[in-house]
Symmetry: C2
Subunit: 529 residues, 2 copies
């Protein structure tokens, strides 16, 4: 009772007493959500309208590549946060200059870089609900609907892609699906599961072997053009990885794998994991699942399929030929957050036997146990992290509000964008399409027929630099078999005929420029279309 | 030219030609964002208003615990997604019955479970911008502002917590911070970095040793009450872990660690990593960083501090005593997504030397290289995953729109909630406060003085079951030294005096109930306040 003015207020004696003891408990100076509700309502509505305007600007000339240099942001922000709150208007007013001015605009109609990133209005609506409900679903009990919506959505999605039945939660087996944050996590998780499984088997045969002795003998395999995350997973798991040669279609074939396995078995090693890629990042090549699958089944080796990019195309029956042989695989992963109109992050993983994952990661302290744990899925045993967002609601919204037909249209549109760009490239004899265009990716380069591979690479590297410098179009380079080339990646939402034509005209202009500066290289004019 | 009716439209000859060749390229049947802009605007505005109403309902009697049983959702949803799109109204109309009816409402004013989950209106606004801009910042070039806002925010946050200068990007050393998805990832990443560092050192001493031989000799240490993610990290990293005993305050002390290290060194093992916890999940205990730090410095062992929950309290000078000795640690992690009003996921990690992390995870393929890579941070080398969202914008909005003083208020309010609940518990002699209340957690149990530990545990387990069954209040159980107890966790935004009082009355009622059914246990009435 330090403050006599408070004590005198008779009717509220108890609360005054509390206010003295716990001033922060009853203070109303700070709104519990950090902003008054009325301010939030106004600000959030403003962001919705702003979002629509921002998206419009990406179709209307906003340059997708920023002009900033490393370190730029330190100049634009103070070196410590404020003690006192700043107004919403002040903060929001800085978004353009601080964030957008230095951003690569992935949603630009002129973006053809890397692979597409998923986005759609239904997905954004789902994400808003995910944020505003703040459900943290690490176990069934911590949010039953977070867990169960995910299991149902994984089944919906498996059916939409026509994946084998053994991947369904509702199926007869112990299979099922889970949302991970990224394909890298999925690759790591499955490699760890394979490692654990093999260790258990080896130790049941010979209990004297240590885990490290067994692991030292393990070998994992992937194409030399598999994603860098496979190599990273092997570094984390301490499993030797062999990045195998590919055929002329940049495809890992059965014969190469078989030879490698035999060689390793002869040396007493334990082949235990193969990561096959459906749609490599470098050039969208496909490993031969049919051949690899039959070997892995015979050899009892875990076959994981990384279809991070191309998996979305399995929504369309006409593209399912790229992934024949899924009946014999052990796990399958793809990223709806790439090409299925779902915002990052949403990478989906199915496993034939979920116990393989759970056994390799399970740790079960009392404070996470609950009475339904034997009857329900606890996804915390299916991933590295404990906490998890309600990501399945994005999938639910997208699959219902866009529908399978709408999603198929999105895939077909992305492929058409690539096919159309391919046609344009083939119309100019100075250019070459480097690999067959099967989905949304066109690999192409400028030719310099009088010159060496090294000179041609240099020419294309210069072309790439010029495109970057210009800032109007986003394309990223790649290299396969020492051939450096450019990648045109279709599939972004706002891309249209005009932006593809514009991109192609831009390529031709920049080609003129770099060829002009390479005295030894004559442009060959040969317009076919 | 399959369709003559199209060919006849002279003015648009080229586009008709295109429409024939690529019908999906030009079709306007499907909006590019999956929903017409006008529908999105309407729906998104509706979600904002709905969010405010939902949050209001959580203060006004909506039961936080759902009544559902495992498998409930299969009954409420079809077993496959629709071919044709459904309307926004239809889908949104299902949110209540399908998602919310089966959700644990973490934002309820009656939620005192697990630890708090972070949320605030500024954070939600930031998340909306993160979603609508869809920047994927795996490298500097893939989104310069995603990378740079993160580095600046990590410096702001380090200063707000008064962390050592060597953690600043702007500092003299090679230290810096990064946002991870969860504390589990941070623990794994740092253990892997320590593993790699020790391996390099051992091999430079004796190149004949294999990685597996060296790893087999490694030992990591943590308190037996450290988070389960430490054990999981050791399983993933194949590093032996020793979960050490604690003192009477459930604190890992220097003497215990020193003994363990000496014992292991004598056996030829390599002590290489200690995870010290500031605020354990079970009972919010604190390992002794001062003692552990000086040992780890002398022994050249990586000392990681997991302050997932309690780290936010370091925003307030008066709570910094819980983490004395940070000058000697190697890495520090806490979760703004727990108690700093930032929505999940946002777990922040600082390391003394970022090269330790980078060297252990770096794989660098051509398609991810860019011209600024030696001058700028590429956060993809700092984490397991490749892709990353613009999570720093949540931190930016929260730190500016709430301000340090507002965040301090939020922490102090959470502590006051616990202190007030503690006072109530101490007013009833039938109950006991099991551990000192230092931050937002109260560990308490019903006493049964005439009975064994086993019976008392059973009684409290029954109490916990009754609370669960009733559905009005969320509290989770825990166990330390075989003593089972309940946890009251303060710190959620809508918690107020009334909800705490209500929770306490509820505890007393349920205590009456379970004591009544335990004939051998007499309630001891002793009202102190």
């Amino acid at each position: 009772m330090m403050n006599p003015t408070v004590v005198t207020k008779e009717p509220n004696k108890e609360s005054d007493h509390l206010a003295d003891m716990f001033p922060h408990l009853t203070s109303e100076n700070f709104p519990p959500m950090g902003l008054e509700t009325s301010e939030f309502r106004k600000a959030a509505h403003r962001i919705i309208d702003w979002t629509i305007d921002y998206h419009e600007s990406l179709k209307c000339g906003r340059l997708p590549i920023p002009a900033v240099k490393p370190g730029f942001m330190k100049e634009r922000l103070p070196n410590a946060g404020p003690a006192q709150k700043e107004s919403w208007e002040t903060v929001f007013g800085d978004v353009e200059n601080v964030v957008l001015d230095g951003a690569l605009h992935w949603l630009s109609s002129n973006y053809f870089g890397y692979f597409p990133t998923g986005i759609s209005y239904p997905s954004m609506l789902g994400d808003m609900l995910c944020t505003s409900t703040a459900n943290i679903g690490f176990s069934w009990a911590s949010s039953p609907s977070c867990t169960e919506l995910e299991t149902v959505m994984m089944d919906w999605l498996a059916k939409a892609l026509n994946l084998p039945d053994f991947f369904l939660h509702n199926g007869r087996g112990p299979g099922g699906g889970v949302i991970q944050g990224s394909a890298s996590e999925a690759t790591l998780i499955t490699m760890l599961a394979a490692r654990n499984k093999v260790t258990q088997e080896e130790r049941s045969r010979d209990p004297k072997q240590s885990i490290h002795e067994i692991t030292a003998r393990m070998v994992a395999y992937a194409s030399k053009y598999s994603h860098s995350s496979v190599e990273r997973a092997s570094k984390v798991a301490l499993v030797n990885i062999r990045l195998l040669d590919v055929d002329e279609n940049i495809s890992l074939r059965g014969s190469i794998l078989r030879n490698a396995i035999e060689e390793d078995r002869r040396q007493g090693k334990i082949p235990m994991f193969v990561c096959a890629t459906i749609g490599t990042t470098a050039c969208c090549a496909y490993d031969n699942i049919l051949e690899l699958g039959s070997i892995c089944q015979n050899e009892k080796i875990w076959l994981h399929v990384d279809a991070a990019y191309a998996g979305s195309a399995l929504l369309c029956p006409e593209y399912r030929y790229i992934a024949q042989g899924l009946q014999s695989i052990t796990s399958f992963n793809f990223n709806p957050h790439k090409w299925m109109m779902v915002n990052f992050d949403c990478s989906v993983l199915w496993v034939r036997n979920s116990l393989d994952i759970i056994n390799s990661l399970n740790v079960n302290p009392v404070y996470l146990q609950h009475k339904d744990q034997t009857k329900a899925i606890d996804y915390r045993h299916w991933q590295i992290s404990l906490g998890r967002r309600l990501r399945s609601i994005k999938l639910w919204f997208v699959m219902r509000m866009i529908g399978l037909e709408g999603l198929q249209h999105h895939i077909r549109k992305g492929v058409s964008q690539a096919k159309y760009f391919e046609l344009l490239v083939r119309s100019d004899g100075r250019f070459e399409v480097v690999f067959p265009v099967t989905l949304g990716l066109v690999c192409f380069r400028l030719l310099s027929p009088d010159s060496t591979l090294e000179k041609t690479n240099e020419l294309n590297s210069k072309l790439c630099e010029e495109i970057q410098r210009d800032r109007r179009y986003v394309l990223t380079p790649s290299s396969v078999n020492d051939v450096y080339f450019l990648r045109f990646s279709g599939g972004m939402n706002f891309c249209d005929v005009e932006s593809i034509k514009g991109c192609w005209e831009h390529m031709r202009e920049k080609a003129d420029l770099v060829l002009h500066h390479c005295g030894d290289l004559k442009p060959k004019i040969n317009s076919k279309v």
